[in-house]
Amino acid sequence: MSTLSHRPASTEPMGAAQGNGAQGLVGLSAPRVDARAKATGEAKYAGDLQIPGLAYGKVLRSPYAHARIVRIDASRAQALPGVIAVLTGDDVLDINPYYGHAIKDRPLIAIDRVRFVGEPVAAVAAEDPQTAAEALELIEVEYEELPAAITLDAALAEDAPRLHVTELLKPGLFHGLGELKPQPGNICYHHAFARGDVEEAFAKADIVVEGEYHFPAVYQYSMEPHTTIAQWGDGEITVWSSCQHPFLVRAEIADLFGLPVANVRIVVPYLGGGFGSKSYTKLEPLTVALARKARRPVRIANTVDEAMVTTRRHGMKAWMRTAASADGRLLAREVRCWFDTGAYADNGPRVVATGADAAPGPYRWEAVKVDSWGVYTNTSPAGSYRAFGATHLQWIGEAQVDEIARRCGLDALQIRERNLLRPGEAVRPGGKPLDADLIGDIQKVAAALDWGTPKPANVGRGLSVGLLAAGAHPVSTAFARLEADGTATLYVSSTEVGQGVRTVFSQILATELALPVERVRVQGGDTLVTPYDRSTGASRSTTLAGLAVQRAGQELRAKLLEIAARVFGLPEEAIELRDGAVWHEGESISYPDLIRAHFGMVGGELIGRGEVRPEKGTGSYAEGPVFWEVCIGGAEVEVDPDTGKVTVRKAVSVADVGKAINPRLVKAQEMGGWLQGLGNALFEEMIYDEQTGQILNATLFDYHVPTIADLPASFVSTIVENEDGPGPYGAKGVGEGALAGATAAIVTALYDAGVRVTELPATPERVWRWLRERDSAAAGGAQSARE
């Protein structure tokens, strides 16, 4: 059992101090506002909700990776007592049933054809879940199997079966990627950029490192699988769903069912984790269609194996080469990567583009060329997962940097100090220049690893640094009510997915209003009530929605000052807000008294609004990102040379967050991200049967997610606060960087221990094989040297 030594970078004052001045609660580790409700079980998740007349849905899923549906006979299921409705493709032909926020390539239920094992073919609504499950067994489906392309190589082959007529696909509502062009074969999306003359740079280079690499499909595993309740009635749709982006779901549902957005209401209770698996639209269209047919509210709740085929992380194949001069100057990099997006695009195009952005790494190149493709395969669709793109490519680029360092006699820290970008330098052609001090950050990682000190045999230390385009589209709004009794209610649509967003927003509003945190209540997302927010993801909520919250608070603050100036008969500058009251020198009026003075009664309320939108331009992908999230980490690993088993002895994270509004929550993000990074590096892989397309490890018995027992023996986390973020108080997002940073740091630490990782996860068997290859190559080398 590992012990956890948590070394704080600075002492953190805990608890909700009284607000004094505008920075009052910022930087304090206020206790989570939802801790009690979650610990006692009072917190409500989608699976806990009960509404009158609720029916229970179950989904019949395809056993084939690719097949034509010849016939479906649901009559026996329909006749089972307790069954309310059976939905098949025939029931959605009155609408355009294709959706997808990037590409509208996915029918909400299979129509004539299935493209992956697990694709919904029929859905049953019944009086109880048991009956619904029994009804599924009574549905007869006749399939005619079609040739399937399970792997990237199979899908990219000349004569590969085609999944879609890509020429006919329509762009989705929110692809945000400029013009989407139809692609040949099974290519779903292509993103490319180039700068400088790559061929020339490679021709003149002293050192070239080149390789092919593989990253597996990974399951986002959140404790709560997707759960949705839908209610259809009278031209209105109400959905309660475990979703991260309620407004984007609302738009897609409205579009699918031909209703104005105002007639669609999405309510988001607490989420039991998401990690990207609940971003965009998942179970909602199917549940709405089933409720429409059943004329009853219906709940569909995924099991773990169903969640696994609902969305996953993209598997990827990459080829990369890096050029450098003999003295360790990085010159050029060329990358080609293919992302397996499964049967439908989901968020694939964005992942492809973000992967391309991450591919060069944050170095000063003379020339760069990146081509990144999304590829359709007959497997379950792939979408977002924490730190997508960066996690895929950072470990590869960083391993090549370390190989170059070795060849030119530098150490891993030195080569980075020489080549890392500095603040203000361009990261990619167009878009935001670097907004972080990467050299300062990497030196902190090195210090935490006791860089340069002797280490035992079979132990390796590694550093890694990269960038992730974060923030998504910068549109968020919030409003706040200051009630007559001096308490505040905040309306903002960020999803509390476990990250602590309600706590942070409470701190921000409490700070602006000089109130204790306990007097602020944060409403969960409900599109009928809370105002527009693009999404909860891309490390954006504190930065963007938080800024909207701050602005709402500032508007309220301005109103309080204006009223106080009137009541005191003084200029606003002579008044300050403190401890829930307005003050002039020793004299104070509490907010309730002030509001009463304003309205002339005990009642009324003040309202503040905050809006965030692109500051210049359109906020497009090409002009972005909102900020570059620093993906950084350090690891010390030990390799058992007999078995190949890897133990992480020390985990290091540096959270370059601009300003830590709640340091404890920042560190929780770092630790959670690190553990997931450890899973991505060492354990996690969805294994598809290459013939049938079945997932061979679709249970948590067979798919190992890191647990408390896998925690590194020591975890050191440092927070960097340069106040260089675009969010409130100079904050910028956190939460994803640690994952990509950790995965890559484990790889570079393994490199330092003599293991050349070319495929993740670095399972004991793979490590053992790489060590054997190295040893036999060394023996071969010794042999030829002797000859």
Binding site: Q130, T643, F701, H704
Partner: protein
Amino acid sequence: MLRRFVIHEPRAVEEASALLEAHGPEAAIYAGGTELLVVMKEGLAHFPHLINIKTIPGLDTIEASDGMLRIGALATHRAIERSPVVRDAAPVLAELEAQIANIRVRSTGTIGGNLCFAEPHSDPATLLVAWDATLRLTSRRGTRDIPAESFFTGLLETAREHDEVLTEIRIPLPPARAGTAYERFKTHERPTATVAAVVRLNGGTIEEARLAVGSVGPRPHRLRGVEAMLTGQRPDADLFAAAAERAAADAEVIEERFESVDYKRHLVQVLSARALATATQRAHPRETGGD
């Protein structure tokens, strides 16, 4: 999801046996349920009748006397891990039990359930085979004792008849100058390879050696060829290296989803060398300064 079933709560082993007989293949014994209920939830098997044996008194007793450690089939992993009797008489078993699964499975799952399910990736099965333990089976027809090694007949298969209840695991306590070592390699939820070694010394030579391997094949089994090459020899690193190599070759290994056959053979070799060295060391603790 779990389909509907009836649960029976017998008060005696004979009653459980009668229920098994009456309901035939529709019935299964339900102990901790950590395997059974998962299999049923996954839809891999369905038993309309579950016979809960936790209502039968006395099936979880742990005691040692007359050179025999007796563990009731209903004893949970947690109970065995924490039992002062086990810690005293068979500390290797207590350590093994402490490593199984996680605290939730250990406090619900029973040793009997582990053995009767015969999932090949089992820790206790491998050790019990090396220890020549016997398993006591009871039905209305009577009681019989089977050596652990012949109890496991294949992947998820045992010598237990449908109407028999496993009631007790009987472990002959190792004689003086014998040492036991248990080695496991685990990266998934269950172990990938397990090896148990028992070494008894006489003077400077190995009087008896037993080596059992599990998890890599359909069932745990002894490696008698390896045992023969060790018997009568002086223990040293070269001998163990040769024995471990032979163990890797002789072990019954099957292709599965995860690790390959050659890697599993390699693991058997690594674990065998480690287990033999440790068992030998434990066989003469005084000489090596241990205790």
